[in-house]
């Protein structure tokens, strides 16, 4: 267990605990960003440079900013004395502890874990791009389609609702009329 791994693991675990345990939402997101950065450091330590930098770009850069903006847009609802935990929080903690216990037990009793340490793989970004463009080109296209659909869906869901949802009949007739409204503005 090297010192750098212990440091990264301690920082990441503490930041994750703070991210779900603090009262102030902005502090939670700052701790979450620290946890994402710690995970990126773990990826870099494991020799996956491309994934480490993608983690920094996507999570530390984009997702954290997105969550901060969502907090900014929903800030008015909370006050200092509202309870932080939901009603059934004891069962939630029990379930989480149980899941952790099962995972640790499975790890401790597993015989499939490799004993030795294989030599570090020498993976260049060129090989990752090569695999993305040849062997995994269909999943890449599907992910592009998924991201486009998520973009359009996010915009539609979060779009400002019209102030008057039921339009008056005169407006409806005027919008359905055959004449172009721009011709009226230039008589």
């Amino acid at each position: 267990m090297s010192f750098s791994f212990s440091l990264i693991a301690a920082v990441t675990a503490a930041a994750a605990v703070a991210a779900v345990g603090m009262r102030n939402l902005v502090h939670c997101v700052l701790a979450l960003t620290l946890a994402f950065a710690g995970l990126a450091a773990a990826y870099l330590q494991l020799g996956a440079q491309f994934v480490g930098f993608v983690q920094i770009l996507v999570y530390v850069g984009a997702v954290a900013i997105l969550i901060v903006f969502a907090i900014l847009l929903t800030r008015g609802s909370e006050s200092a004395n509202t309870p932080m935990l939901s009603k059934g929080w004891i069962s939630g903690v029990l379930i989480a502890v149980l899941v952790l216990g099962v995972l640790i037990y499975a790890l401790a009793s597993s015989s499939a874990l490799p004993r030795g340490i294989p030599p570090a793989p020498d993976i260049a970004v060129r090989q990752v791009g090569d695999a993305l463009m040849r062997r995994f080109v269909l999943p890449l296209e599907i992910v592009g389609l998924l991201l486009t659909a998520a973009l359009i869906g996010g915009v539609i869901i979060a779009m400002q609702e019209p102030k008057k949802p039921a339009a008056s009949p005169e407006q409806g007739r005027a919008q359905r009329g055959p004449t172009d409204p721009t011709t009226h503005s230039h008589p």
Binding site: A13, V20, A35, F36, L39, Q45, L46, Y59, I123, Q127
Partner: protein, 103 residues
């Protein structure tokens, strides 16, 4: 370089923390934060198993994580848009008060 079980224990801990956050917090944004932590724990597992596998040149772990990050980003965008939409309807992000489907 640390052996594999250290990373697996860290990943299990992150998953449990994310699960606890998703289950016990009232705020919808923090539930999404917990889900993001669980997804990241799974990604750490993929990278750790890829590093200690017998054929790391096959790149399967790295590519799975790249696609997983893309899907998680899409999920975060749509989830936060839903939270903003819920806030506009209910004027709250407290999940105990958003109970119209409770029957």
């Amino acid at each position: 370089m640390s052996p594999l079980p250290g990373y697996l224990v860290l990943s299990s801990f992150l998953f449990a923390i994310g699960l606890a956050g998703a289950l016990i917090r009232r705020n919808a944004i923090l539930v999404l934060v917990g889900i993001e932590l669980m997804l990241n724990a799974a990604n750490l597992n993929f990278i750790a198993f890829w590093r200690f596998s017998e054929h790391p040149e096959a790149l399967t772990g790295i590519l799975f994580v790249i696609f997983s990050i893309a899907v998680a980003a899409a999920e975060a965008a749509v989830g936060l848009a839903l939270v903003i939409s819920i806030y506009r309807h209910y004027k709250t992000t407290n999940l105990d008060q958003v109970n119209r489907l409770q029957g």
